[in-house]
């Protein structure tokens, strides 16, 4: 490492070595190397190094930047106090923005940027730009030190009896290997076991289909041609503790088709007057499928573009989904409301190992 010389001066070992001229070398004896390293180029002074006037100008520029920073901080505090948080202003070309957010951000930005610009300008124009040299040293130890460390280790290991007393060694390994198991066991209560939770939803025989938007039970005539209607099971309310977990499985989409258009026989059997009910949860990774193409009766998941054909058992037409959307068997009860005939016959949502 370098030892530090007196002020201003670069320490001896960091001085650029004498610059050799390649031409001179070429004239010398032996086999000259035309590509020889000519050594560090001589230092070229900047204007600030020779002209005190220029140096003064740089000094003033740096001081100005620092002064602007101070003013910007004052402006930041002033903005914080002056602008109400809900004041919206029009600023070209950004548009309508929060006055407080914009002024705080811009003043803070200027305050910070000017400190940085000042420091960098100072370094570039006024601090010495004389290049210096540090020698590198091999990272690996010298052979003697290496030998010493290794023999120390052998000595230490020998004194411990680690290699000789195998009983101690093996039981220690055993103990140290086992003790983390406690930590693993403690993780057990992170959550319940899956059991058959992923197989069942809130749907069951006789549950009414409730419109998600109006919260009213749906009649067949509520389902119009050409649009998706979203339904949830009767009794599931937004205030329920488990609303999110339940709607994540039970969410349903209804669409009215021409019965003649339905290609899949089971789909037709499970429909009512051409109204079919499918799980809204994509079988890929669980996004709600919600884009419906009226003409083709295809539905598209906006997350990963899996496309399902609602006229053909919701089979996958394109995209990464692995199997059709599960269909819910529906009918109409004696009061004329749509109701489920059963739970879904297969798990809804993404595939999992036990799905089968």
């Amino acid at each position: 490492m370098s030892s530090q010389g007196p002020d201003e001066n670069v320490s001896e070992d960091k001085q650029p070595e004498e610059r050799r001229s390649g031409v001179e070398r070429a004239g010398g004896g032996g086999a000259p190397d035309p590509f020889a390293d000519p050594g560090l180029p001589p230092h070229e002074p900047r204007i600030q190094d020779i002209d005190e006037g220029a140096a003064k100008r740089s000094e003033r520029a740096v001081a100005l930047l620092f002064a602007i920073s101070m003013l910007a901080t004052v402006a930041f505090i002033a903005s914080y106090v002056a602008f109400p948080i809900d004041k919206i202003v029009y600023v070209w070309p950004i548009g309508r923005v929060s006055a407080l957010n914009l002024s705080l951000g811009v003043t803070l930005g200027i305050a910070l940027f000017c400190i940085g610009a000042g420091a960098v300008h100072w370094a570039r124009t006024l601090m010495s730009d004389q290049e210096m040299i540090d020698e590198r040293h091999s990272v690996a130890a010298e052979p003697e030190m290496e030998a010493k460390v290794k023999s120390d280790f052998v000595q230490g290991a020998k004194e411990s009896g680690f290699g000789r007393r195998k009983l101690i060694r093996n039981t220690m390994f055993g103990a140290v290997a086992l003790v983390p198991l406690s930590g693993v066991v403690l993780l057990r209560d992170l959550g319940p076991l899956p059991e058959n939770k992923l197989r069942h939803t809130l749907w069951s025989k006789g549950k009414l289909l409730v419109n998600e938007n109006t919260n009213q039970p749906l009649r067949p005539e509520d389902i119009s041609v050409g649009s998706l209607t979203f339904a949830k099971p009767e009794g599931l309310e937004e205030d329920d503790h488990d609303f999110h977990s339940e709607i994540a499985k039970a969410s349903l989409m209804l669409v009215r088709l021409e019965p003649n258009d339905i290609k899949d026989k089971r789909e037709l059997d499970w429909s009512h007057e051409g109204i079919v009910a499918y799980s809204k949860i994509c079988t890929h990774v669980g996004c709600p499928v919600s884009l419906y193409e009226q003409q083709t009766h295809h539905v598209l998941c906006p997350c990963h573009q899996s496309t399902f054909d609602l006229t053909d058992g919701a089979r996958v037409l394109f995209g990464p989904a692995g199997h059709p959307l599960p269909q819910l068997k529906i009918s109409v009860n004696k009061d004329g409301y749509l109701e489920a005939q059963d739970d879904f016959q297969e798990p809804v949502g993404p595939s999992f190992w036990e799905r089968g």
């Binding site: 030892s3 950004i94 730009d129 319940p192 999110h244 573009q305 989904a321 999992f352 190992w353 089968g356």
Partner: protein
């Protein structure tokens, strides 16, 4: 006591010096300062990329601590009654509501959120570009392989810290991302549903995932990252920075400016520059406007659902993969989700393990402190460019809906492009990049041997027109020929001196073949030798 005179003398010293003396007596700071205070750092614009990453990380920590003062990491459902009118009376989690409060009721809270998010995007981008700089200049070679891995881990952990962070507001977009993660976990054979139950504390989404992500995001991952970052910086100091070859700069020295004062001013100032720019960007460009997205509900989704950019390539994998699913013996293997989940770490691992592959191929055990020009390592440069193209093909796949809507393309065609491009594009890019590198090597060789084209046309006495070439300076001659070139590894004779057959393992054969691919005739242009140079420069009349 002699101490009395000591103290008398010390009283004259300035206060700062006395504090330093006090600290040195307890911490030995002078020994530390001797090695580091005037440490030399070489200068090159690309060396600041890592600094951008470092400073963004500091900015993220500062703003992140501020955000924790106001954020409530809870999934408890409440009805919103804050000052953002469009959300009045809407049911949402406390996490979402407190994020609205930060945005609309805490003065400067929105700005801190925006800076936090912008800095996170910049952090990942800067790490990515910094990693590429290190890769393409071979700065990962011995003795810096471990620091390469530290940096790589920082990048990967940064991705997950980002993911857990942008999931915290529990808005419709990020909730969809968490749902995607649940689907991906479910696809893991045998234990998928168990992992999901343990992570979410029950069925998705449950009430636990936001508080758990919060702990991971503010404590676990940043803690590990901070440790890695410190180790990364210590190693940078310990190894001393790499430098490009040039007059006076070689593998045994480091030429540049000292830490005190030049780099303290430049690097310290650069922190403020980065912070200032991010602050202005955050004031002007809105990012993640969660108030537009609405609170998360598992049965709702918006279009244009995109993760932050650094997660985009995993999104591309999941979108491009065909929906294969195997059902056997009552079990389901969702390859359509599980295969992307496996390829995701493999894409990253490909770049992480590269330094070890290259050092195995070269068998070079020496230290390297000279940053190479990418053209002088054509195969590596080709590999790096291929990796980037791989990454970007997947990014295109992750935004296939945006490409479709912005450029009026069929989403199916884009997806097919990604499926095929995943395999083909890296190969094409590798081939092209290597050719370009070889072309640049040839140009360097021409320049060294024949000089620079001056643009001056000279008519010779016999009527021929020639362009005058100016010879290069000694500095340029040295710089252009300073790089080393490996020779391909030979397996050696199959039989030894006594005619006994030597067994050459498959591994050894593979190594020789790779070495030939790296350093054979097709893979590098021999740099001009001194004799070639002498021959040409002495032969007059040869333009």
């Amino acid at each position: 006591m002699s101490n009395a005179t000591d103290t008398a003398q010390k009283k004259k010293a300035p206060a700062g010096e006395r504090v330093a003396d006090w600290a040195d007596g307890r911490l030995g700071i002078y020994t530390l300062a001797k090695a580091n205070m005037r440490k030399i750092f070489p200068d090159h614009w690309s060396f600041m990329l890592g600094e951008v990453a470092l400073y963004s990380f500091i900015i993220i920590i500062l703003t992140g601590v501020y955000l924790t003062l106001f954020f409530t990491p809870s999934m408890g459902e409440i009805e919103y009654h804050g000052s953002y009118v469009p959300m009045q009376g809407i049911k949402m989690s406390e996490a979402y509501a407190s994020t609205l409060d930060i945005s609309f009721d805490v003065r400067g809270g929105l700005l801190m959120r925006q800076i936090h998010h912008w800095a996170a995007l910049l952090f990942l981008a800067a790490m990515f570009v910094h990693m590429m700089r290190v890769f393409f200049t071979g700065a990962f070679r011995k003795p810096r392989e471990i620091n390469w891995l530290f940096g790589f881990l920082l990048f990967v952990l940064g991705m997950f810290t980002g993911f857990t962070g942008y999931s915290l507001p529990d808005d419709l977009l990020s909730g969809t991302g968490v749902r995607f993660m649940e689907g991906a976990i479910l696809s893991v054979p045998i234990v998928g549903s168990y992992l999901s139950m343990f992570l979410f504390g029950g069925e998705f989404p449950g009430h636990d995932v936001i508080p758990r992500f919060f702990a991971v995001h503010v404590l676990l991952l940043p803690g590990i990252m901070l440790a890695l970052l410190v180790a990364h910086l210590i190693l940078v100091f310990y190894h001393k920075h790499t430098q490009f070859a040039g007059p006076g700069r070689n593998n045994r020295n480091v030429v540049g400016m000292p830490l005190l004062p030049v780099y303290m001013a430049k690097a310290g100032g650069f922190f403020f520059l980065v912070f200032g720019v991010i602050a202005v960007i955050s004031a002007v460009f809105t990012i993640n406007p969660i108030w537009v997205l609405g609170p998360y509900r598992p049965d709702q989704v918006s279009t244009n659902a995109q993760p932050d950019w650094y997660m985009g390539f995993s999104e591309g994998l999941i979108r491009a993969m065909p929906g294969w699913e195997i059902n056997l013996w009552g079990h389901t293997l969702a390859l359509g989700v599980f295969v992307p989940l496996i390829i995701f770490p493999m894409v990253l691992a490909a770049i992480a393990v590269y330094p070890f592959i290259e050092s195995w191929v070269t068998g070079d055990k020496r230290e390297h402190h000279i940053a190479q020009r990418p053209r002088n390592a054509p195969t590596r440069t080709g590999f790096g460019a291929a990796w980037i193209s791989w990454y970007f093909v997947l990014l295109v796949g992750g935004g296939n809906d945006l490409w479709a809507t912005h450029f009026h393309l069929s989403i199916n065609s884009i997806t097919w492009f990604v499926r095929i491009g995943f395999f083909v594009v890296p190969l094409v890019v590798f081939w092209c990049t290597r050719r370009i590198c070889l072309g640049l090597q040839r140009r360097d060789r021409e320049k060294v041997l024949h000089g620079r084209e001056s643009g001056i046309i000279k008519r010779l006495p016999h009527g021929e027109f020639v362009e005058v070439h100016e010879p290069l300076t000694q500095d340029e001659l040295h710089t252009l020929t300073a790089h080393e070139q490996y020779q391909p590894r030979e397996i050696g004779p199959q039989t030894d001196d006594n005619g006994v057959e030597r067994k050459v393992g498959r591994v050894e054969k593979l190594r020789a073949r790779l070495s030939k691919g790296y350093y054979g005739e097709q893979a590098q242009i021999p740099k001009p030798s001194a004799s070639e140079y002498e021959e040409i420069t002495s032969g007059h009349g040869h333009h």
